[in-house]
Amino acid sequence: MITLPEWIQIIIRAIVFFAALFIATKILGKKQISELTFFEYISGITIGSIAGEVIMGLDSSIMHGMVGIGIFVLVTFLSDILSIKNKKFRDVFEGTSTVLIQNGKLLEDNLKKEKYTIDGLSELLRDKNVFNIADVEFASLEPNGDLSVLLKKENQPITPKDLGIKVAPVRESQTIIMDGQILDDSLRVSGKTRNWLMTELEKLEVTLDNVFLAQVDSFGELHVDIFDDKLQVPAAQTRPLLLASLKKCQADLELFSLETKSIEAKKMYSKNAKKLEMAINRLKPYLH
């Protein structure tokens, strides 16, 4: 067998192991990359270092490296499958979370068990933007070392639900033009046609090849970003304008009811003004 120069060997090994690692991560999936569990953390490091070792250490055989990586992939894969099937196995191999703060009180025993000092805990809390332990209702240390924090209700960010405000439901926007190319699949998902899209683009006075990105939201409105950053594209304004004209009509009706001398007409106007007022109140969340 001819022995290749060392640098060529390194190139070959690098390419081979790059492919091997690529396949390994494809098999193990996204879960491996997030390194949620102790097991994934270990196998991630080990697979990487085996590959590194074999690529640079020309004495070690490629086959041996492959076997090592293969075993780690296999075991991780099996443990993933077993953890899905069995809760006990999952608890042992993937670890359970440890409660560090409960009912606003520090659990010193658990803290000691995890070998965290109070400084370590406050550092993790600060990481979550919590600077005052008294603000925390519940905190648990996840198997991957992250701290999950539930703040006391009064310290949580305020939501529309807290304020009793009704909000319109929204769905994710669909990207229908990318780099000047129409994405027919997402166009279909959003229930629009090419014809509709062309009309909308014409309304905005832009051409298709000038559009870098276009998205359609759940109200069926088109939002575009164009290549030429100096050009201003008008933002979608139909809904706010609609709300404004509703308000104008409502005011008009109120005015008519004040102006007219006929009692019957007065009644009719104020009844309809009330109807419009109701419509405004109900439509407001949708038209902002």
């Binding site: 319109a168 439901p169 929204v170 769905r171 959003s190 229930g191 759940s218 109200f219 069926g220 409105e221 139909t238 809904r239 609609l242 004209s245 509703l246 104008k248 009509c249 008009d252 009706l253 008519f256 102006e259 007219t260 007409a265 009719m268 106007y269 009844k271 309809n272 109807k275 419009l276 109701m278 419509a279 109900r282 439509l283 949708y286």
Partner: protein
């Protein structure tokens, strides 16, 4: 501006609102929003009918403003 023409203007705006609500109802991809827009469209339609009736009355009272 006469009363009749003011009312007519208001009717025109109402019609515009109705049409826009109809468009929104058709283009929304969420059923809840669709239902809301549709319901409001019906309500606006009631208002429109009342106003149109009033417009006819006004035109009877002041025939000189008919069609203006």
């Amino acid at each position: 501006m006469t009363v009749a023409s003011n009312v007519k203007q208001c009717i025109a705006t109402i019609k515009g609102i109705e049409a826009q609500l109809s468009t929104l109802a058709l283009h929304s991809s969420i059923q809840e929003s669709q239902a809301m827009f549709h319901e409001m469209m019906m309500l606006i339609d009631e208002v429109k009918q009342d106003l149109e009736q009033r417009k006819n009355e006004l035109e009877l009272e002041e025939p000189q403003y008919k069609g203006s």
